[in-house]
């Protein structure tokens, strides 16, 4: 499955547009982690636990989108966008969407 946030692929042609596909993931760390991050908030620096959390959510959201694209017979998702928001304290949501297409070589 080809994933890209461009709209043009030199050497390939869009045979069919299959519409919007999307995936989202909401995750949070356990309370202990939240507490430790609260302490880290005094000293500053990177919150590695949350960076990992976002990385995992992003992977999962992308995977969900890819599965959806696969199920409707696409072989690529173009013009992908990510969107993030914080839903509640310590929980983050990642939403990813794009256009599923069937690509053929020119």
């Amino acid at each position: 499955m080809l994933l890209s946030n461009l709209e043009i692929l030199p050497g390939k042609r869009v045979e069919k547009h299959l519409g919007l596909v999307q995936g989202s993931s909401v995750r949070s760390k356990h309370a202990g982690r939240d507490f430790l991050s609260g302490i880290k908030n005094i000293f500053g620096g990177e919150l590695t636990a949350y960076t990992e959390l976002l990385h995992d959510s992003r992977e999962q959201a992308t995977q969900r989108m890819t599965e959806q694209a696969k199920s409707i017979g696409a072989n690529a998702v173009l013009n992908i966008r990510f969107s993030t928001s914080s839903i509640a304290a310590g929980a983050a949501e990642i939403y990813v969407y794009g256009t599923a297409v069937a690509l053929v070589d020119e």
Binding site: N5, I8, L47, L54, R58, F82, A89
Partner: protein, 164 residues
Amino acid sequence: MNNLLLFLGLLFCGWFFGRRAEQRHYKSIIERELEFNALPAIASRFPPTDTAYEQQLVAGSTVVSSDYFKSITAAMINIFGGEVKPFEALIDRARRESILRMKAEAKSAGADMVFNIKMETSQIAAGRTGAIEVLAYGTALIPTNVVDIASAPNVTDMNVATPA
């Protein structure tokens, strides 16, 4: 009295460790930026059409926390208004770090450049003061016409010809 001591202690911890973390982070950012200069990140939507490239989505994210000193200073600046310098540095660090992580992913995929860079910033409510999260993503262009020495017949022909 105890409360005041606690406040001053926290303020000092924030100032000392926060400043140290920031200086270290900036040093490492600048070093890696020099290293990744060869792999440009371009905000254009249109990829070059002269060479054959394979496309791959790459992303990098960072969550950077504010420190106690920054938060208090920012709250004070907020009363009088004006430029909130402590938070500018914080968000700058997060953005540059995210781009570097994205480039690192692109480099490990063998890319030449990254196109159509987009940034997402959001606040994570962790603790009292908060942290910011930055996600940078784009499309890595991986050249497909790299000359493969093992499969190029001309190269082996030449090697055979020269010693004789």
